[in-house]
């Protein structure tokens, strides 16, 4: 099992690096930088433009910026069935996008907040919310994010997305939310 995960990780990481390189260099033409040995007379001052290359990720393509409202990283919430904490298949792509962003941007930091519906003990619900947040973090780390980039916490039942004591509201409240720095 472990070997499979490692090779999966390597394959995904390799793919990410290639894709990452493509993303950050899109639209940038590496600029020639002239220096002492670069073909000008000794002593002459050359002023060539220096085009910045930003590897922090924030100046990359819009797809790679979680703050862009309609971008793929704008999707931040995973919803759960009653008493469940596994990430359903329908959210897999979303989680992969975020994992890629975290992989490509080592300084990036994420807070995952797990939530439950209102039923039952508040403190036990803090535990259930934690289980949900931990599950999302686990998947992100498996997909290449680093453990120290992500903190998983629980809000229990205390911050519902929808008010109401019915399944319609409860189903919106059983969720994990992914937040990036500046949002928490």
């Amino acid at each position: 099992m472990r070997a499979n995960l490692t090779s999966l990780f390597t394959a995904v990481a390799a793919a990410a690096m290639i894709a990452g390189c493509a993303a950050t260099s899109e639209g940038d033409t590496p600029a020639p930088v002239t220096g002492p040995g670069g073909g000008s007379k000794p002593g002459a001052v050359t002023t060539s433009p220096v085009k910045p290359v930003d590897v922090t990720g924030t100046a990359g393509s819009p797809e790679a910026d979680p703050r862009v409202k309609q971008g793929p990283l704008a999707q931040r919430s995973i919803y759960y069935d009653l008493d469940k904490f596994d990430v359903k298949d329908e959210y897999r792509g979303m989680v992969e996008s975020h994992a890629k962003y975290l992989r490509d941007n080592p300084p990036a930091r994420m807070l995952i907040q797990g939530n439950t519906d209102e039923r039952g003990s508040r403190e036990y619900n803090v535990g259930l919310g934690q289980r949900r947040a931990d599950g999302v973090k686990r998947m992100l780390v498996l997909l290449g994010a680093r453990d120290n980039q992500i903190e998983s916490v629980s809000l229990g039942e205390e911050k519902p997305q929808a008010e109401g004591s019915n399944e319609q509201a409860w189903s919106k409240n059983r969720r994990s939310d992914m937040l990036y720095s500046g949002e928490f």
């Binding site: 003990s121 036990y124 535990g127 934690q130 916490v153």
Partner: protein, 426 residues
Amino acid sequence: MRFRWVWLLGLSCLLSASLARAQLSIEITGGGEQRTPIAIVPFAGEAALAPSITSIVRADLERSGLFRGLELPPISPAPTEASSINYSEWRSRLADALVVGSVAKRADGRFEVRFRLFDVVKQTPLGGIAYTLSKDQARATAHRIADFVYEKLTGDRGVFSTRIAYVVKRGNRYELQIADADGAGAETALASFEPIISPAWSPDGRRLAYVSFENKKPVVYVHSLLDGKRHVAANFRGSNSAPAWSPDGRTLAVTLSREGGSQLFLMNADGSGVRRVTSSPAIDTEPRYSPDGRWIYFTSDRGGTPQIYRMASKGGEAQRVTFEGSYNVSPRISPDGSKLAYITRNSGKFQVALLDLTNQQTQVITDSERDESPSFAPNGRMILLATVLGGRGVLSAVSADGRFKQRLSAATGGDVREPAWGPFIE
């Protein structure tokens, strides 16, 4: 037949934030059958103090579910603690017990309140006390009188001078409040735009531990009530919650997710000396010490669904304690250590159950649907809990035998939840 003189110390100045805006209103909804009829004669001169001493004494005793204050015709001349008592006259008024007293203003602006209690059935005096107090101590004095009467007539200590903590939510504003046991005099210890849960009184009544979400995650604070200063007890990576005090006030048990999952840890009250005491792949939470400090009861779903377990308070193997039903949470031990109150889910309804630890008998003592957070009074006779009525969060109090109930709701609107009954203050 001597009076005991008691000099009441000034009420300790409570809290940092704003003074009482809100008050809890109390409604008695269930009657106790075996209530002692008691005649509480308005004290001579008590109009000098507001609120009237005897109205508070009567309300306290009736709220316990064990007494019924008799409606009395005006009696002339008004008896005081100095009067001689005609027992058969009081018997004919159907009183089992009698309280008489007086209020006098002193030259220095303070007041003297004296009373005596009589057992009308046995035709014996049961004692009395004389208090010297300032005007703003009228309420506290009345509660002390009610405590005296309660203790003499039932053998149990009265809880009328104790306080309760709870959280009120109004819109997006949360307040951790502390009020008298009758809901009066509410003061705000913490106001926040993020949730506050799990207030826990230190055994000496001077501090509250609680969980605040003001940092976008749960963090445990310890808050000193006298000066309003608080410190972070636990803000480790992940979630920090469910604080519980050891009976000697030195240790906090908490639930932390810093090592993965939700596990129980112990720490000193200042947050130092953290050590882990459970190791399960499950959710272990809601720790509570037994009153003798030997055990920690807690909620765990290590068996598949949440049940209550207990382990030695230094950690170790845990034994399961609840076996009926598939959802048993929020363990609370009675002050005498003999009973466990908890929340059980019964056909989708969350209700308060009592487990007699001496004979393993269980009894569900509420018939509501969304009960949470039970809390024993320090004399073990009442349980305060949070519930929902008409869509609104209110507190409910039920006698430990389930026969008598009251409802406490926030007089100025909002949801009340997370009650914690404070200790006796020595």
